[in-house]
């Protein structure tokens, strides 16, 4: 039974107003800028802030700027007769120094060539779909640093691998023999003395063993020395030995042919490089690293740093995950040490104190020492990034590999590492950006990178004007920003590509 309705509408309800537009410019503005009193306030404040920042910047950089001139008088208000903004002639005058430092002007083509080579090798590496990644990365990470070294620094080669390994072997043997002798001679009476003296003798014997091992190579080296061109003789000897070794190790007559051909191809390529660069004839004139500077040093330090820190980082990451106790402990201590000290102290140590700790007959070029310090420092940070990647690899993967009977190294090298590295590309790019920014610290140990050259140029009284400071900072700031911003965008792009499957 229904009750009688008390009220029946007789006319239509008036249409409601249309909902607020949420699309288009007006709608967007309403939705995202002016939808509440607080938001309106924020918007106004933001707009004012932008106005206060952008207008003076644009005025300084373009409107009021001076574009031509030969010395400071071009940028002085008294001479121009108006407010002076940026003093671009200052940058023009110092441009070469900003890029090359004191690199001799007639040799600068070498720097340019190195830059171009690097760019050519790097671009295909960065494009995910480009072919021949293995060859490309091999060229970039192994061949390019070596070629770059001879291009930038100059100089030639006197011997090849036989020489190096023979020298290294005999050096090691000598060091062991000396240390053993010293230990044996410091031995005191009594049981500990006996132990120490025995240890000393043992170390000495290890040295003798090493000397025996190195002896055939040493003989070969001395034999090669009698040739007309020791370098080529050594090179051919190395090529033969290494290729044969490869051939035998990868299965000999049955299936070692591919390795043999690869090895021969690599050596042929090396030979071409040696011949073209004239390394057997003394190479290009040597430019001491003291003369390097500006953007060149910034790039050399950062690129070498990242290339050299990769193997360090991988080794440390594996060491930290290793089940072998001492290796794990050492890796953790090593990583924590480098992450706990400021980079400046590392650089100071590498630059001014390292020679104290090296044996007497062994010093390294100053820039190389800084590079070693930076590589170890960056390696410790990379180790943490790579470790994150290793932990992201599903446990089933290494277990499956073990089930197939792969050894630890094969499991790591073929299954785990490739997957981990793919995961951490964005992280590695980020740590590369950090490294690139940290290269500026070398100016504190008197190596003039881009920022160092900038600061040195401020001391030039020919360009002392009120706006020189800001002009220089604007110019170098733009360079740094372009590099870092480009890299961070690339890192984002890779990240999106890697995560594409997650948010289909």
């Amino acid at each position: 039974m229904t009750e009688q309705a008390a009220f029946i509408r007789t006319d239509l309800v008036a249409p409601r107003t249309a909902p607020v537009k949420t699309t288009g410019v007006v709608g967007f503005a309403r939705e995202r800028l002016f939808n509440s009193p607080l938001n309106i306030m924020m918007t106004v404040a933001g707009a004012i802030l932008l106005w206060l920042i952008l207008v003076p910047t644009v005025k300084f950089l373009f409107v009021d700027a001076v574009w031509t001139g030969s010395d400071r008088n071009a940028c002085l208000e008294a001479n121009v007769g108006r407010v002076v903004g940026a003093c671009w002639p200052f940058v023009q005058a110092k441009f070469d120094q900003f890029i090359y430092g004191f690199y001799p002007a007639d040799q600068r083509w070498r720097v340019n060539l190195t830059f171009v080579l690097g760019a050519l090798l790097l671009l295909p590496l960065l494009i995910p779909r480009a072919p021949a990644k293995a060859l490309n990365s091999g060229l970039f990470f192994i061949a390019y640093p070596v070629i770059g070294f001879f291009l930038l620094r100059g100089g030639g080669l006197k011997g090849f691998a036989v020489h190096w390994i023979a020298d290294l072997g005999s050096g090691l043997a000598l060091s062991f023999q000396e240390a053993g002798g010293r230990l044996a001679s410091t031995a005191t009476a009594g049981a500990p003395g006996q132990v120490i003296s025995f240890l000393g003798r043992l170390v000495g014997w290890i040295g003798d063993g090493l000397a025996l091992l190195a002896w055939p190579l040493a003989w070969l080296r001395d034999y090669i020395e009698r040739f007309h061109s020791p370098l080529w003789a050594d090179f051919i000897a190395t090529a033969i030995i290494v290729s044969l070794l490869m051939f035998v190790l990868t299965g000999g007559v049955r299936n070692g042919w591919r390795a043999l051909f690869t090895s021969i191809a690599i050596f042929a390529g090396t030979a071409v490089v040696i011949a073209v660069m004239g390394l057997d004839r003394g190479g290009l004139p040597i430019v001491d690293t003291r003369a390097w500077g500006g953007l060149l040093v910034t790039l050399v330090v950062s690129v070498t740093g990242i290339v050299a820190s990769m193997p360090v980082g991988m080794a440390l990451a594996l060491g930290r995950r290793s089940t072998i106790p001492l290796i794990r402990v050492f890796s953790i201590a090593f990583i924590e040490f480098w992450r706990g000290v400021p980079l400046i102290t590392v650089l100071f140590f590498a630059t001014y104190m390292l020679p104290l700790f090296l044996p007497g007959n062994f010093t390294v070029d100053g820039l190389v020492r800084v590079l070693i310090g930076i590589a170890l420092f960056a390696g410790a940070y990379n180790a943490e990034v790579i470790r994150g990647g290793l932990q992201a690899v599903p446990r089933g993967q290494p277990e499956a590999a073990s089930a197939l009977g792969l050894s630890y190294w094969k499991t790591t090298g073929l299954i785990v590492m490739p997957q981990a590295l793919r995961h951490v590309i964005p992280g590695l790019v980020n740590s590369f950006i950090a490294l690139f920014k940290d290269t500026t610290l070398v100016l504190i140990v008197a190596i003039f990178d881009l920022l160092g050259q900038l600061r040195a140029s401020f001391a030039d009284p020919n360009w002392a004007t009120p706006t020189t400071l800001f002009t220089g900072f604007a110019f170098t700031g733009i360079i740094y920003f372009v590099f870092c911003f480009g890299m961070s965008r690339y890192s984002l792009f890779v990240e999106r590509r890697l995560n594409a499957h997650k948010n289909v």
Partner: protein, 401 residues
């Protein structure tokens, strides 16, 4: 006839093998021995070389120099320091300056960082863009570049002391820094301090009582007016009863400089600004990622409970985001502390520039001094990490409960 079951391997041996060599077993033990031998050999070579080199040159060694007179002045010391003090005191002065700039920097960086992160997440489009622009700009310029910029550019634009910008004739800004009146404690300062302490304790008690009530009965108590009254009222009462607690030492221009007052050095200001704005950009990204890691449903659930956006953020989202935020945030704090050693580029007397700079060049004992400096930074890192781990552990515990 079935084979007799084989004996199980000796448990003890297997265990030993596992602890000594990990998964690699006895091979692992051999590897370790070789590895340790290599490390020992390298270490031995290093020490031996250093010893021989130092002996050959008869450079003084040992830490005896720490008790020698330093005989140089430092532009900023938190503890009384004069030229006749020892190198040990120089070390302390430098360390305190490093800590000061780090702590102030960390505080400011956290505030800016959180503000920028909230700005980036704000529904206001313009604000989000500006915050994003700030992060991109600051992150992509080297820190040393920014420190030099702040120092040189700001110094270049400030007037000299005689034309300094003054506020009410008591605060002066010039290229000698910011001079503010310096509070000098009077006899009644003790009472005043006690009053403040009592006020703080009372507010904390009120807060915990209010929380307790909230959890127990579900009623919300408004306590902030009472807390404010206690915090301001008690000290004010003390001041009225016992006389003013501090007298302000007003700065005035005497000769070249301001006499009296407290000064913020331009070096300190430039370093703090650069460090805190730089680190803030990273903190902003960390906080943003942390907040975004909390499922969207949490925010919506908060809204459906009738909480405001701010309340939801404060009481629902941020506590959950903290777990994600904390480890990288710790790293940023440590980075800031380590980066404070860049002070050496602008002459702020921090540990690295005073101790590993001036003291090193006067005593020449590089090995000891650099070892001490590195050790201090390591210690700072480890202590900070430990504090943060403890905090993280507590947070996890409270969230798990």
């Amino acid at each position: 006839m079935a084979d007799a079951p084989r004996k199980p391997p000796l448990r003890l041996v297997a265990r030993l093998r596992r602890t000594l060599g990990g998964q690699a077993g006895w091979a692992g033990v051999v590897i370790q021995i070789l590895f340790v031998a290599a490390v020992v050999w390298i270490g031995y070579e290093i020490v031996e070389n250093a010893r021989a080199n130092l002996q050959a040159q008869r450079i003084a060694s040992g830490f005896g120099f720490l008790s020698n007179t330093a005989s140089f002045a430092v532009s900023q010391a938190l503890i009384p320091f004069s030229e006749s003090d020892t190198y040990a005191r120089v070390f302390v002065v430098g360390l305190l300056n490093t800590l000061l700039v780090s702590i102030v920097g960390i505080a400011i960086a956290t505030i800016i960082g959180v503000a920028v992160a909230l700005g980036r997440l704000s529904p206001n489009w313009l604000l989000a863009r500006i915050s994003g622009g700030y992060v991109e700009l600051i992150r992509n310029l080297p820190l040393l570049f920014q420190i030099l910029f702040w120092y040189l550019a700001v110094l270049a634009t400030l007037p000299n002391p005689r034309q300094s910008i003054s506020l009410l004739g008591s605060v002066f800004l010039s290229n000698r820094g910011l001079v503010v009146p310096n509070p000098v404690p009077q006899p009644s300062f003790g009472v005043f301090a006690v009053a403040i302490a009592v006020g703080i304790v009372a507010s904390l008690v009120m807060r915990s009582y209010a929380r307790h009530q909230l959890f127990a009965k579900g009623e919300k108590l408004t306590i902030w007016p009472f807390a404010l009254a206690t915090l301001i009222g008690l000290p004010a009462l003390a001041a009225v009863m016992f006389g003013a607690p501090v007298k302000f030492d007003m700065p005035e221009l005497k000769g070249f400089n301001f006499a009296g007052g407290a000064r913020v050095l331009p070096e300190f200001a430039a370093l703090t600004i650069a460090l805190s704005t730089y680190t803030a950009a990273f903190i902003a990204e960390i906080v943003r990622a942390g907040i975004q890691s909390v499922p969207k449903g949490q925010m919506e659930a908060g809204a459906s409970l009738g909480l405001t956006r701010g309340q939801t953020l404060r009481q629902v989202v941020i506590p959950q985001a903290m777990r994600v935020i904390l480890p990288p945030l710790t790293n940023q704090y440590l980075n800031l502390t380590k980066n404070s050693s860049l002070a050496v580029a602008i002459g702020y007397p921090d540990l690295f520039s005073v101790f590993a700079g001036t003291a090193l060049s006067q005593t020449g004992q590089a090995v000891e001094i650099i070892a001490l400096t590195m050790g201090v930074y390591l210690l700072l890192s480890l202590v900070t990490s430990a504090i943060m781990s403890f905090y993280g552990w507590r947070l996890n515990r409270s969230l798990a409960a």
